[in-house]
């Protein structure tokens, strides 16, 4: 039965394509894009299949590599949460790669083959991080994905290599801290398997190594997730990377890092132990809250759309981490739902900025004007959908993750975080309506040009429009039918809820 092999098949597919693309790419340059689509298409299909299979059977698949059972061997754990995240990231990658066809011609014409090869490697890393049930193996995948994303970011504007180098330094420190934490845990428990370690932790929870490990892991993963104040690498990296890379890394990379926080805090330690020695969740919650506000305020201050979106990501990742830190069912639902919602919204927004760059050559908000409304009606409609969802107006998806997060804060009687969520929505409204005003309304300072100048429709082509349209519709569908998704999230709860 292929269903039980899916956890292994997904990363293997990426390995296969990471080898195929350079081999075939040397021979036929033009088809690397098609190959990358085939690769992500297959994995998306597999993850969808696996997800449905999992919902129907309700059984977690534990795949032992080489038949070695843990704790000796390495296992992949394909439970509800992993299946969900894998489905989200592979589908988003598939859609973003469709969009990358035009971008690749414009932004990195000579580097297509390396670009798509590295993309496959990065996706391998991300999928591995999500699927693995072993803390050290997770570090290996973390480094695979990190190294490929450094390279991916470096393929971009002039300043991209600098931003990438900065990310490399900070990211490596983060990765090392995580590894150090894993080492500490290994010395006390003697195992690297998450499930195994979870069973042992209650006996050693008071040990100072465990406390140190927890702190190190949270900081290390916090760097990768761009949790405030460890977000310094993010804005420049997302801004100067090529539009396709930003659209790929922004919705996926930080989410996967947040997913590790889910695993470490709620599954490895669990709600009972996490706050045993230190008020970890409270501290994380405070930083997440500050990050939400800081990111939103910085986003308002930006005049470049990609940079604005980058700061907005800092804020949005705060939502997810805040949801984790609440450590209650509603917070969990909100966080998991926001992984999906934010992946859709942020990918869509970065794709819009990429589309604008391909047509206008820039994405400077100050230069936006109301001719865009006529030139790119559908792109702008997609942008509006994403913007309204970011602000959190019903019935779009963004409203519901906010709703569950709000319920989560209320359940903990955490009124400050409740206020943070609500204020942040207003701040989102400020920076998105600013653009909407520019795009849809005449500038009252200037003479109306509309009557004198005939503006031709100059909409982007199908390969760009299709993924944007799918994501925009996705926001509406996820919003209206969020109860179905939430009912599935109920089955993903860690023990103790």
């Amino acid at each position: 039965m292929i269903g039980s092999e899916i956890p292994a098949l997904i990363p293997v597919t990426y390995v296969l394509f990471a080898i195929l693309i350079p081999l075939i790419g040397l021979w036929k340059r033009e088809i690397v894009w098609h190959l990358s689509l085939l690769g992500t298409g297959i994995t998306s299909f597999l993850s969808a299949w696996g997800f449905l299979h999992l919902i129907n059977t309700g059984e977690t698949i534990r795949y032992y590599f080489g038949g070695w059972t843990p704790p000796i061997g390495i296992e992949f754990v394909y439970d509800g949460l992993a299946a969900f995240i894998v489905l989200v990231i592979n589908t988003i990658a598939f859609l973003v790669l469709i969009h990358s066809k035009e971008i690749s011609k414009l932004e990195f014409p000579g580097k297509k083959m390396p670009y798509y090869t590295i993309t496959m490697l990065m996706m391998l890393g991300f999928n591995g991080m999500v699927l693995t049930g072993d803390l050290f193996n997770l570090y290996v995948f973390l480094e695979i994905s990190s190294l490929s994303s450094y390279a991916l970011i470096a393929i971009g504007e002039k300043r991209a290599p600098y931003a990438s180098f900065r990310y490399l330094i900070i990211g490596t420190v983060g990765g090392s801290l995580y590894l150090l934490g894993v080492g500490f845990l290994y010395t006390v428990t003697g195992t690297l398997n998450i499930i195994d370690m979870h069973a042992m932790l209650p006996q050693v929870i008071g040990h100072s190594s465990v406390v140190a490990a927890l702190i190190l892991m949270v900081i290390g993963v916090g760097v990768k997730a761009a949790l405030f104040p460890l977000h310094g690498w993010l804005p420049d990296s997302y801004t100067f990377a090529s539009s396709s890379s930003s659209a790929l890394i922004a919705p996926i990379g930080t989410k996967v890092a947040a997913y590790i926080l889910f695993r470490v805090l709620l599954f490895l330690f669990g709600v009972d132990l996490i706050d045993d020695q230190l008020p970890v969740t409270t501290i994380i919650g405070i930083f997440a809250g500050i990050g939400i506000l800081y990111g939103s305020i910085m986003a308002i201050a930006q005049s470049e759309m990609k940079k604005m979106l980058a700061y907005s990501s800092v804020s949005q990742i705060g939502y997810i981490i805040m949801g984790i830190s609440l450590a209650n069912p509603f917070g969990f639902i909100g966080a998991v739902l926001h992984v999906l919602n934010h992946a859709l919204m942020k990918a869509l927004l970065f794709l819009v900025s990429g589309s604008l760059r391909s047509k206008e050559g820039h994405s400077l908000i100050t230069k936006f004007n109301n001719s865009y409304r006529k030139k790119y009606p559908w792109t702008m409609a997609a942008f509006t959908t994403a913007a309204i969802s970011m602000v959190g107006l019903p019935p779009l998806a963004g409203f519901f993750s906010k709703w569950y997060l709000a319920l989560g804060t209320i359940e903990n009687s955490n009124w400050i975080l409740l206020a943070v969520i609500l204020i942040s929505s207003l701040l989102n409204a400020v920076y998105f309506f600013r653009i909407l005003e520019k795009v849809y309304l005449n500038d009252p300072e200037e003479e109306s040009t509309e009557d004198t100048e005939i503006i031709e429709n100059n909409e982007v082509g199908f390969t760009m429009m299709f993924p944007m349209a799918v994501m925009a519709l996705g926001l509406l569908v996820v919003g209206i039918f969020n109860a179905y998704i939430v009912n599935i999230i109920f089955t993903m709860f860690p023990a103790g809820f």
Binding site: L393, F399, A406, L426, A429, L441, P444, N482, A483
Partner: protein
């Protein structure tokens, strides 16, 4: 006839008209035909719900589970049908009037205008038929968003500033409402609108009750124009006049007071309100708003702004009537929702007709215009009389019940507020009428005649309706019966 799906159709019909409106943007007559068609169908659909609503039946339609344990539910109870009837009925008038106004004024982007208007109406009917708080919030936010393009319609600097102000007020309100709903849900486990309230079995502390109530009040009070949350409304007068007429005198602001009544009567319930003295908060705010808004109306020379302040005052009549927590007072409140609608829409229609026809916006320029526009000014006089509470116009009837409700509760101060405010109404409307009829107009009036029939017929129609409802409140739609039935379900629910 099977009525289960009628509320859904009533919500969707104007939404369904939007693509047709957008597609026929090059053919204005066809485009406006869709608007009128949708308006008439919507009104007829709501009308079919009337008989069952009069019998006190509730038609409930659960669409889907929007969040676990919280369904998206449309519920056509008597109060919902009452509000939907007014909004959809007056939309037909406004649509005709819009044609005259928008074309007479040579406004741009009329397609966007009519499309947004249709979405607004869908949201308003959605608000009327919302069966629980989450459904209410969804339509409430939709209304916020759909009104925005109408407020900034002229895209002038002033309009854009008004739009920003409007959004910042209403979006904040929406967030407070979400917070209030969240807390309510975590306390009661339900968000249903239930006559008599859902807090009955909950152990509320006093601080908790006041906090939740203030959050709710912040949420619905912005649209209801309760001071100090009112200032978006005068600014929003930058919108085209039909928008001010239907949205800023009926649909949007009445959604606010509708929300106040839902919160007071169907979430908290009169008992909980009285137990924690929440109605006192409401009463003080509303009383203050009535007097201050009436005084501020004096200071406005711009006719639409004066009407806007008058609207702020009259909305608080309704709120004050609710805060009395007496059955008669609530009957007065609910009737004032409909009666203020017919009167204020008339006045706004008149202001717009004057603006399009004579290009006059300020009251000081209105000398002698009654000779040129006799029908318009006659309608204006009727509307003003009604708002001042002079019989036989319908404003008298609702005010009578409001005052009687105050006396029933043994409260004298509200009665004084109603009387004083009535005098103030006379004070700020009479000079306009005096100028129009008795002062000599300037030479610029020569050559002008009455405005286009597209405007005059609707505005005179609503004026006549105001008198007819004044003579018999149960005429056509049994407004009085419906209001009393709503009040009695709230007060006799236990």
């Amino acid at each position: 006839m099977e009525l289960t799906y009628v509320p859904l159709y009533a919500v969707l019909v104007s939404l369904a008209a939007v693509p047709f409106i957008l597609l026929s943007s090059k053919k204005p007559n066809l485009r406006e035909f869709w608007t009128i068609l949708a308006g008439v169908i919507k009104f007829l659909l709501v009308l079919t719900l009337l008989p069952s609503a009069l019998q006190g039946n509730v038609i409930e339609l659960e669409l889907l589970e929007i969040a676990p344990n919280i369904p998206l539910v449309l519920k056509a109870d008597t109060f919902g049908v009452f509000f939907a009837l007014i909004a959809s009925g007056l939309w037909i008038f406004t649509s005709f009037y819009s044609i005259g106004y928008m074309r007479g004024h040579k406004e741009k982007k009329q397609t966007r205008y009519f499309a947004s208007f249709a979405v607004c109406l869908s949201s308003t009917i959605g608000i009327a038929f919302s069966g629980n708080l989450l459904t209410f919030i969804i339509f409430y936010e939709m209304l916020t968003l759909a009104t925005y393009p109408l407020v900034i319609h002229s895209e002038s600097k002033k309009a854009i500033a008004a739009g920003r102000k409007y959004l910042s007020y209403t979006l904040t309100a929406g967030l407070l409402l979400i917070a209030a709903a969240g807390i309510t849900y975590s306390l009661t486990g339900t968000l249903e609108f239930r006559p008599g309230g859902i807090f009955g079995d909950t152990n509320l502390t006093s601080t908790m009750a006041v906090t939740i109530f203030l959050l709710f009040l912040g949420g619905v009070g912005v649209k209801a124009g309760i001071m100090p949350l009112h200032s978006w409304l005068p600014s929003a007068m930058a919108a085209p006049t039909p928008v001010s007429s239907l949205l800023h005198a009926v649909a949007v602001v009445k959604s606010g007071v509708f929300g106040v009544i839902r919160v007071v009567g169907f979430i908290f319930g009169p008992d909980v309100m009285a137990q924690f003295g929440l109605n006192d908060i409401l009463m003080v705010l509303a009383g203050f708003t009535i007097i201050v808004a009436s005084l501020l109306a004096f200071a406005q020379d711009n006719l639409k702004r004066r009407l806007a302040y008058s609207t702020v005052g009259h909305l608080s009549y309704i709120v004050l009537g609710v805060a009395l927590l007496t059955e008669t007072g609530l009957v007065g409140s609910i009737m004032h929702i409909s009666f203020h609608a017919t009167m204020k829409i008339t006045l706004f229609f008149c202001a717009g007709a004057i603006m399009v026809n004579l290009h006059k916006k300020n009251i000081s320029d209105l000398n002698g215009i009654a000779k040129v526009m006799p029908w318009t000014m006659a309608a204006f006089t009727i509307g003003s009389m009604g708002l001042a509470g002079i019989p036989p116009v319908n404003g008298f009837v609702s005010k009578w019940y409001l005052a009687a409700g105050a006396l029933e509760g043994g409260m004298l101060v509200p009665v004084i507020i109603f009387v004083v405010s009535g005098l103030l109404n006379v004070g700020y409307f009479f000079p306009i009428i005096h100028r129009a009829y008795f002062k000599k107009g300037g030479p610029e009036l020569e050559g002008h005649t009455e405005a286009s029939p597209f405007m005059v017929v609707p505005l005179f129609g609503t004026a006549v309706l105001s008198i007819l409802f004044g003579l018999n409140p149960d005429l056509f739609f049994n407004f009085f019966d419906m209001a009393s039935s709503v009040a009695s379900t709230i007060f006799n629910s236990i």
